[in-house]
């Protein structure tokens, strides 16, 4: 009876319900979307920062050799030249550097050129470190004040860079090289670059 008084009420009543019913699910979709976004964020390691130098040429630097080494130090011009290289930033006082050391030795033994930037270290300490653990490095530059490391965007030791044949930085790892990192990331990059 009421309907006969105001027939337009039926239109108002029916259209929103049938056509906009899915809107009830909108908060659910928004929740799932935002929740998924945040969940992915939670799984990411905030310590692993992206490098700003990927695909950029090696920064300009020129480091003297460590005392007692005849390798001439390390400078920009030593990198690239049609050779794929590993640049490892290390220090004798850094514990993770000792952890990753066997990996570097392994790579060096396989014939991959490894060069080192020795970060804020005392010459006698590095000498002892290398004598005890062996040296995977073809050349080492002594970065006493850490300035060259800053030019590489290093924020902690160890860090490892893979330099392509063209002298561009292809890959950066912040932290110690571990077995999994080596097999899953470093080797594929090396393989792709040497091809």
């Amino acid at each position: 009876m009421a309907i006969t008084h105001r027939p337009e009420a039926t239109d108002l009543d029916r259209t929103p319900k049938s056509r906009w019913r899915w809107l009830f699910l909108l908060p659910l979709f928004v929740f799932v979307g935002v929740g998924g976004f945040l969940a992915v964020g939670l799984t990411r390691d905030p310590e692993k920062l992206p490098s700003a130098l990927i695909d950029k040429p090696v920064p300009a630097f020129d480091l003297p050799p460590l005392a007692g080494r005849e390798d001439g130090g390390l400078k920009t011009a030593d990198l690239g030249h049609g050779q794929v290289m590993l640049v490892n930033v290390f220090a004798s006082w850094c514990i993770p550097c000792k952890v990753e050391h066997p990996m570097l030795m392994r790579l060096a033994k396989e014939g991959i050129p490894v060069v080192g930037i020795n970060y804020k270290d005392k010459p006698e300490d590095v000498a002892r470190f290398l004598a005890e653990m062996g040296s995977p490095y073809q050349k080492i530059g002594a970065d006493r004040d850490g300035r060259a490391a800053i030019d590489f965007g290093v924020y902690g030791v160890p860090e490892t860079f893979i330099i392509g044949k063209d002298g561009k930085i292809a890959y950066r790892l912040a932290g110690a090289i571990q077995e999994r990192e080596l097999e899953e990331n470093i080797r594929p990059v090396l393989k792709a670059l040497t091809r």
Binding site: M1, A2, H5, L12, P50, G146, R147, I150, Y155, G156
Partner: protein
């Protein structure tokens, strides 16, 4: 004043000083204007070791090195933007505590406003519909009104009796 309260007030009073000065006296630039510029600029840069402190606040080794670089470049006559570019070239946008406005960060900047707008739109629609629903209530026809009167009347009687 109780001793505890006094201690709390003392801590609160000294708090900002402790937070602002990780810097050693020998790092300060002799020129006051340049030093003020270095401090203002340094507060824009994230210490990459501690991540939630600026390089001016952080006691980390790297933060000290970066403070020194900022001061060296100020003395060398670099503009603020040149110093910002210098650090961004090495450490990426992450080194800036305030991320720049560009395509990759557009959701970071506009996200909250988009969410508020979305919420406001939903609230608006919901309220409109509720209002529409109240407009749709029908006036009682005479028979219904009579029935209501009867019930109210009866209810009143029951309560009084």
């Amino acid at each position: 004043m109780s001793r505890l309260l006094r201690a709390v007030l003392l801590v609160l009073a000294l708090w900002p000083i402790g937070a602002a000065l990780a810097i050693d006296a020998d790092e300060l630039l002799p020129d006051r204007v340049q030093e003020a510029r270095a401090e203002r600029l340094g507060q824009e840069f994230r210490c990459l070791v501690c991540q939630n402190e600026s390089i001016e606040e952080s006691g980390a080794d790297l933060a000290r090195d970066l403070r020194r670089i900022v001061r060296q470049r100020i003395v060398a006559g670099d503009s603020d933007q040149a110093i910002r570019d210098f650090l961004v070239a090495r450490y990426g946008d992450f080194v800036l505590l305030k991320p720049p406005f560009r395509l990759a960060t557009i959701f970071l900047w506009l996200g909250p406003f988009i969410l508020v707008a979305l919420g406001a739109a939903l609230a608006f629609v919901a309220l409109r519909r509720r209002q529409g629903a109240t407009l749709q209530t029908q006036p009682l026809d005479p028979a219904e009104q009579a029935e209501l009167d009867r019930l109210v009347h009866a209810g009143g009687e029951t309560r009084t009796s």
